[in-house]
Amino acid sequence: MSARAARAFATASAAERRVIAVLGVVGLLLIIGLLAGGIGPAYLLYLLGLSGMYILLAVGLNVQWGYAGLINFSVAAFFGLGAYGTAMLTASNTPLGVSLSPLVGLLVGILLAAVVAVLIAVPTLRLRADYLAIASLGLAEVIRIVIQNQRGLTNGNAGLRGLPLFYGEWPLIGGLVDRLPTVLIHEVSLGPVTLLGLRLGRSVWVGTFNLLIATALIAVVYLVVRRLHRSPWGRLLRTIRADEDLARALGKRTYRRKMEAFVLGSVIMAIAGVYYAHLNLFVTPQNLAPINTFYVWVAVILGGAGSNRGAVFGGFMIIAIREGTRFLGDLLPATITVGVDLIDTTYATVAANFAATRLLAVGLLIILVIRLRPEGLLPPEAELIWPAAQEEADG
């Protein structure tokens, strides 16, 4: 296995090496942060779980935009349908007054997203690309407004809280998180530096299982979409993206294929929503805000349209950007005194609103990637080739 990994690294392209380097640096920073006590283990696990959600969303959007070239600006809406689909059935304060299993929630969330995806796709997929962008954003807003105002179903702006853990009722591991002991890892002093001193309690076990669930979901989704991407269906979608008229001239039913890609991508987004609902245990209409759609877009553009690996990398990087800017903001002093009034007050405003640098970073990232590397950091290369064919070619 390690020999294969070494060979993979040796044959990696320059871009791949850079990505591996970035991931290595981020991973190293996280480990240092964990050891030095800068970041709690439960929070780190929560962040990793959250990046699992973004990875799922990015993989879903990649099916639509990367494979088929569909500009879907309603990512947050499908995410929200998944989240609300399960939350309405499982939350402790649901107006529906039911308390079903999260597995039912998952099915309902997927079903809801699939139905809405078809309803949205039927009219909009015939539209020109930029109209599809505007129309899908508009319909996503309609969904958000409906969820916000149908208090009898969704509890409105107050949101739905008290969701159970996804695996709460499963045999064996369901009650495990409550029974696992609290482990203390004692502090280690290395000269002036104090390391470790961690307390691994219930929240850490919960985070661990959530992360396992995320990993399992990503693995299944990833294998499915990769298989589809390499299949004739995937090849046809790539043709449609490149030249839909050509595909149609070849007698292909392009509308059907686009519809399938749209629904598949939306269902993956809904799965991410269900997962998020049982990770965060609280959903509000704010989760459907358009900004969340654009975070996922950044992930896909950064990773490279059409690239599954790129989508995974991009999804991970979104959390890195989010948390990195937060971390920097915490480091900054709230005020400085230069003596010049204008500079002092400006600095205070900037420091107080440092969260906006996240928006700035995302915006600049979009502009810079499209300007400097429109194909993304990990454009699809070898991943479209069957491994067997590759080995044959290598001799």
Binding site: I71, P123, T124, R126, L127, R128, A129, D130, Y131, A133, I134, A135, L137, G138, L139, E141, V142, I145, V146, Q148, N149, P290, F294, W297, I301, T346, T349, V350, A352, N353, F354, A356, T357, R358, L359, L360, V362, G363, L364, L365, I366, I367, I370, R371, P374
Partner: protein
Amino acid sequence: MAVLEYLANGLVFSSIIILASIGLSLVYSIARFANFAHGDTLTVGAYGAFVGFALIGDVGPTVLGLPGGFYIAVAVGAAVAAVVAVVTQRLVYDALEIGAIGLLITSIGVAFVYRALVILGFGTGSLRYAVPAQRPIPALVPIGIRITTQEVAIVVVALVLVVGLHLLLRYTLLGRMMRATADNADLAQVTGIRTAQITRWTWVIGAGLAGVGGVFLGLYNQVEPRMGFNILLVVFAAVILGGIGSVYGAMIGGFLIGMIDQLTPLLGDLGIPIGTEYSYAIAFVIMVLVLLVRPTGIAGGDPG
């Protein structure tokens, strides 16, 4: 009669939407992409005027409930929006060799940068222009219209600008060259029109009008960082209803969408259970229906 009140409000809101729609449509007609940063251009204009008004202060005579200094601040807001748009066009859009979709996605990044800078400079809270608070015009209250003189000022200024733009497009050389470039940029260039210059003027006018729209939106509601993005889809709805790329279509579309938005309470009055919280949703649904039935909109002949 509540209807008169709704219509009066509709007129005010329409004026704002029309100013924003014209800019979006103008830019589309020449740059050929859906500019998602247009909403945040409104925000930039509103904040530009806020700073301008704070510097200028209450100078000059009061016209229609607004001090003369505020009218200068409106011009400042328009100028700031125009400068920001032209700088963006040169630095970002011009440097890209990419299709309409790439430009569209880039404009989302631009929108985020605008908004982030506004928040970093002014915070996330809402601001109000320091203009005297107003009561509804007493003469109109008996017939059920509660509208302030400042709101009348919004309508009057918007009307002046719309008429001015019409005269510019129809009767000046610049207007003719703008129309020619929008119609067929290559042909315009062959006839000796400096299309790059015309494109820049189009951005100036479009963003300037958006800036004025932003100031009035801030005067009508309040000034806050998300004001422009929140209204962007309504503006898109107006532009698409009117026919994207058509200036006169944008005027009609802006008028209709603004009116429909403010007439939403009528549904409740008639017993239809759709509240005002759905007024934007109605506009979006209209937009999608227009795209399906008649993508060229009311005035558009060229589907692009």
